[in-house]
Symmetry: C2
Subunit: 319 residues, 2 copies
């Protein structure tokens, strides 16, 4: 039986250095509690929830697990403070923040003894999060699904540079969907790995079956990066995604792109499974995902793959 000891397993008091990304329309209490029950850290993704719905998911998550779990809060939301208040009131002790200024709410979060982690796409933003008092960062490479940093730094290049620049621990995200990727993340100096798309395609994920199937069918070349001028996003190819890429190629301006994007594209894709009009946010690791399985089975597989990769390494390296 493999167990782990890294500064991330100790920070969260979890068994494995495996974190499930908080994802819109995907990670409610069912997914988060399952990941935490099987030894990882589950995150409720509040990005697609109003405050009351978040409260409901937190309460259900507490009923479903006595293990630590967290809430992911996009700081750019108009009601970000409301989401933070609900999270504090309901007794959650771990918050991951993303997409916004890490300084805005850090005082309130630390005053309430929260363990706080910020998602960053570059060393510059990592240093900023460390400076204002975050406990750790997620370094997210541009291969990740959903929103990405403008500099398009990849996980392989980003993680060791973050590790060298920061004193607080780094969690690696982007392109990781199996135990080999988790071991690669640890090798680069990360203290844990965050997986998004892999958990989005589990049975416990609340995403639409069309979205899960689209991940399973995808090859390595089936995601695109679009909307650079108004907010970079990685998604699976469909009619909408192809249109977005073509618009960019033609040099469309911000207003034109905003009109093309419209509203609630992620909801139409991930939650409603609308193949033509929806935005199916997913990472380049989609090509590694060939089955929709339970979180229990997935966690076992991840650990087995990691063990096998580590054994292969020990056979290759002869001291």
């Amino acid at each position: 039986m493999t167990t782990f000891k890294t500064s991330i397993t100790e920070l969260f008091n979890i068994e494995y250095p495996i974190i499930q990304a908080g994802m819109v329309w995907v990670s409610g209490w069912k997914l988060a509690s399952a990941v935490s029950n099987y030894g990882g850290l589950g995150l409720i993704g509040s990005g697609s929830m109003k405050a009351d719905l978040l409260r409901y998911h937190i309460n259900n998550c507490f009923s479903a697990t006595d293990k630590p779990f967290g809430v992911n809060i996009p700081l750019l939301r108009d009601d970000a403070e409301e989401l933070i208040n609900v999270t504090i009131e309901e007794g959650v002790k771990i918050v991951f923040t993303s997409a916004g200024n890490p300084k805005t709410f850090i005082e309130k979060l630390k005053k309430n003894n929260m363990t706080v982690v910020h998602v960053v796409p570059s060393v510059k933003f990592g240093l900023k999060a460390e400076k204002v008092g975050y406990d750790a960062v997620v370094g997210e490479g541009v291969e990740a699904g959903g929103h990405n940093g403008a500099d398009e730094i990849t996980t392989m290049a980003l993680i060791p540079q973050l590790v060298d620049a920061l004193k607080i621990p780094v969690i690696a995200a982007g392109g990781i969907a199996d135990g080999r990727g988790i071991l690669a993340a640890l090798s680069l100096g990360a203290e844990g790995a965050q997986l998004g798309t892999r958990f989005a395609a589990t049975i416990e994920s609340s995403a639409h079956p069309n979205y899960k199937l689209k991940i399973v069918k995808a090859s390595d070349s089936d995601t695109v990066l679009a909307f650079k001028k108004i907010g970079l996003v990685r998604m699976l190819k469909n009619d909408f995604a192809v249109k977005a890429v073509e618009a960019e190629t033609k040099g469309w301006n911000r207003d034109q792109l905003k009109e093309l994007l419209g509203n609630k594209r992620e909801m139409r894709g991930i939650f409603e499974g609308n193949e033509e009009e929806g935005e199916f946010e997913a990472g380049q690791s989609s090509g590694l995902i060939k089955e929709i399985i339970s979180v229990e089975l997935l966690m076992k597989k991840l650990l087995k793959e990691l063990d096998e990769a580590n054994s292969r390494n020990q056979k290759a390296i002869i001291n």
Copy 2:
């Protein structure tokens, strides 16, 4: 003393699974022979050489090392066959091909008992190279310097997918500049790692000092990806690179972009060190490179870093 045994160390009969990328204006006989002498695989980059100059470099390389070395040949060159003929005539036994159809010269190469490796940016091209009879592939992620595949797949996402799809061994390239990256590559299932930018900034590299210094000064955010419509290339930011990115944003067409690119930009940057007008091809791992050292010292550092990363992993994973 650490040694290695992978299918790549065995294929090339080398001590360490570390390959120095063949790079224009960078990797002549001095760099290639030094890498081979210290246990890696050095490659002469013929991309910036006419056939006679390549012959000169091969001869000097044979004088400088009795270890295996290879030649990198870009298949898109009009005189690619001439370069291949020189390589065969002079008795080199290892050829890496890139940027072109792997089928064109494979028969000739295999008839002459060459060990042949093709550089690929996606699973589709990996399968093609395997099918026509290549011995191995380099899977190169989009974080790599110089020319990149249109699908922009990153090393972290690409390598495990290539490993799963192919029977022949995979070498990982892109974003790797230290021992942590090499161990990450092995963890992902690669049998070796190819480093470009890291070797470009060594003493033995024939690049201009301005180029080497520019790598050393770069941060994680200091490369851009440009010229998507006429051939994607990653380079360090300078006046020329910024102009190229702006042109793309405005939706310039192929003809306009070709005019902006002009001729011999890499020569002006990498070889002549022209800060304003040159193209300084380099990878996102530039931010990891803080010093210009000899190949001897670099190889020792890479192995030490790899050992340390592997020891850290064994402390984190408790069986």
